[in-house]
Symmetry: C2
DNA sequence: TCGCATACATAAGCAGATGATATAAGTGTC
DNA sequence: GACACTTATATCATCTGCTTATGTATGCGA
């Protein structure tokens, strides 16, 4: 496999996911942040900023928005008074689940039209892709 | 394969691509638009807006930015005086190529750490993913 | 040729990002 | 234990890219 083919192909996947992931009422960064909180549990604000590749002030804003909508909450860290731990709320989990279901349905519709061999190839690649993502992002995802 | 697993996995791919795709000096929509122009040749402004899932005024703005940077250009349509055809320039192609190479290198670094079986699974899935994207976006990509 | 539809441009406003800087809490040194 | 230094988060001013609403020019059918 050519490196450029991999890059081009995965960029097209990115474009597809962006277009299938509506409504756009929330930013992608906010949903991705919720995803991290769900996967990895409460995290420091600064750590979240690094994970999402945004600045700390941007993450402060984002967490404030999530808090206002009650999708996440700030907690003090008992071990360090300067730290804010951000955690996902049940509402946040529900919102994530709703979005993922809507997206999964749209994907399933497109998958249904594919030949069986293609479905099998994609299914077989999912665990490998997951490991690729983990490697690419330094294992902190 | 579970539908939700597919959705979750591809969302992680999307997150990875977003984080690997720096510098962020140009918006994702603008690079994606250039990609469409490269793949499919000159297109109407309105058609581009639909492809990218943005409004027509947003695409007018985006094309103006691309034109200012000489990555794309406006042309009149000889058959319809109202129409603007947008085309990629050589500079636009070069910029796309540069970005893809940088991205390909980062991906290759992560791929290098994967077991051979994973690499093979991903390589085998690429054509299938390409067809999935084409189906999901209505074949107009 | 009049009226409506279509294609694009312009204008005003907002969300979400940035960099610079302030505040508050912890840490180390003497 | 007081000082300077570092770290974690918040605030401020600003920018970019999107939105909706509206304007303008061209095309087309009755």
């Amino acid at each position: 496999m050519n490196e450029l083919e991999l890059a081009t192909g995965l960029m097209r996947v990115r474009t597809m996911m962006r277009l299938l992931d509506f409504p756009r009422d929330r930013s992608f960064t906010s949903m991705s942040t919720l995803g991290h909180l769900e996967r990895g549990g409460p995290r420091r604000l600064t750590e979240l900023a690094e994970l999402e590749g945004v600045t700390q002030p941007a993450m402060t804003q984002l967490v404030s928005r999530l808090e206002r909508e009650e999708l996440a909450e700030r907690r003090p860290d008992p071990e360090d008074g300067r730290v804010v731990l951000v955690a996902i709320t049940q509402q946040g989990r529900d919102e994530l689940a709703r979005r993922r279901e809507a997206l999964a349905k749209r994907l399933a519709d497109a998958m249904a039209e594919l030949p069986e061999a293609d479905k099998a190839a994609i299914a077989a690649a999912l665990p490998a892709l997951d490991r690729l993502v983990t490697r690419a992002l330094g294992g902190n995802i």
